[in-house]
């Protein structure tokens, strides 16, 4: 990916995932970082994406229902190790 103009915020918000995934070229990464230095709005946006990731990671799955657990155990008993 090569970006050649000064980056407007509307483009920066579309690059945050590539930035966080370290998928930008060295030059583009630098330009995005330079933008963050002077842009409070985009810095806040990036921080909120990070907070979103942290919060999403806090979701707990439900337990396996007992009936399924029994079926899984039955499948295990049917199975004979090689």
């Amino acid at each position: 990916m090569r970006l050649d103009r000064e980056l407007p915020c509307i483009e920066v918000v579309e690059l945050v995932t590539a930035y966080l995934e370290d998928a930008l070229s060295v030059a583009d990464r630098q330009r995005v970082e330079e933008h963050f230095v002077f842009c409070d709005g985009c810095t806040t946006y990036l921080e909120q994406i990070r907070q979103t990731i942290v919060l999403t990671g806090r979701m707990e799955p439900e337990d396996i229902p007992p009936a399924l657990q029994e079926k899984l155990l039955a499948a295990f008993h049917d199975w004979t190790p090689a």
């Binding site: 407007p8 915020c9 509307i10 483009e11 918000v13 579309e14 945050v16 995932t17 590539a18 995934e21 998928a23 842009c39 409070d40 709005g41 985009c42 806040t44 946006y45 921080e47 909120q48 994406i49 907070q51 979103t52 990731i53 919060l55 999403t56 990671g57 806090r58 979701m59 799955p61 439900e62 337990d63 396996i64 229902p65 399924l68 657990q69 079926k71 899984l72 155990l73 499948a75 295990f76 199975w79 004979t80 190790p81 090689a82």
Partner: protein, 210 residues
Amino acid sequence: MEAAPSAEERRLVDALRAGDESAFTQLVQEYGPSMLRVARMFVSSRAVAEEVVQEAWVGVLNGIDRFEGRSSLKTWIFRILTNTAKTRAIREGRSIPFSALAGEGEEPGGVDADRFLGDDSRFPGHWAAPPQRWEALPERRLLAAETLDVIEREIAKLPPNQAIVVTMRDVEGFDAEDVRNALDISETNQRVLLHRARTKLRRALEEYMQ
């Protein structure tokens, strides 16, 4: 590089190969709930998702001798799960497009265009309505169980391909390569789907915080 199995995983694999029921139960407790959640996004109902999970575990048992330890055990188990779920989804007539950039062009950008200055302004494309820092809110707002409900509801509204990628990456904590391998998608597709999902989750949280 994918992570190799941990010492504990190696122990569980050996125990499972020897037919140790407690090793099986431990693995089911550890991964079963997450498997069910991911399976649910591929298929039409909770009941079918449970069948997928069951079928995947039979696949794990039958394949455990072929587990070579080139990835973590968790990654290997989820690869079996996603393959089982994909096959089942196709049989149900639900094909989930991962290979093409599905929906490209149909969806507007993640952040509403009217939050940015127009071309007639001095700084086109810069924030007109920048996001407000969430730190300014009372902390309990961010920590409330309600906040997690907002995320859960928003994930349920996502197209399945985005929901699956964000669940595997951000809920289950798989790395990008694990997800690419499990779903057999390109690096770019993985990133685009993740980006769209995260953008919508942030927006839902922003609406809730205000």
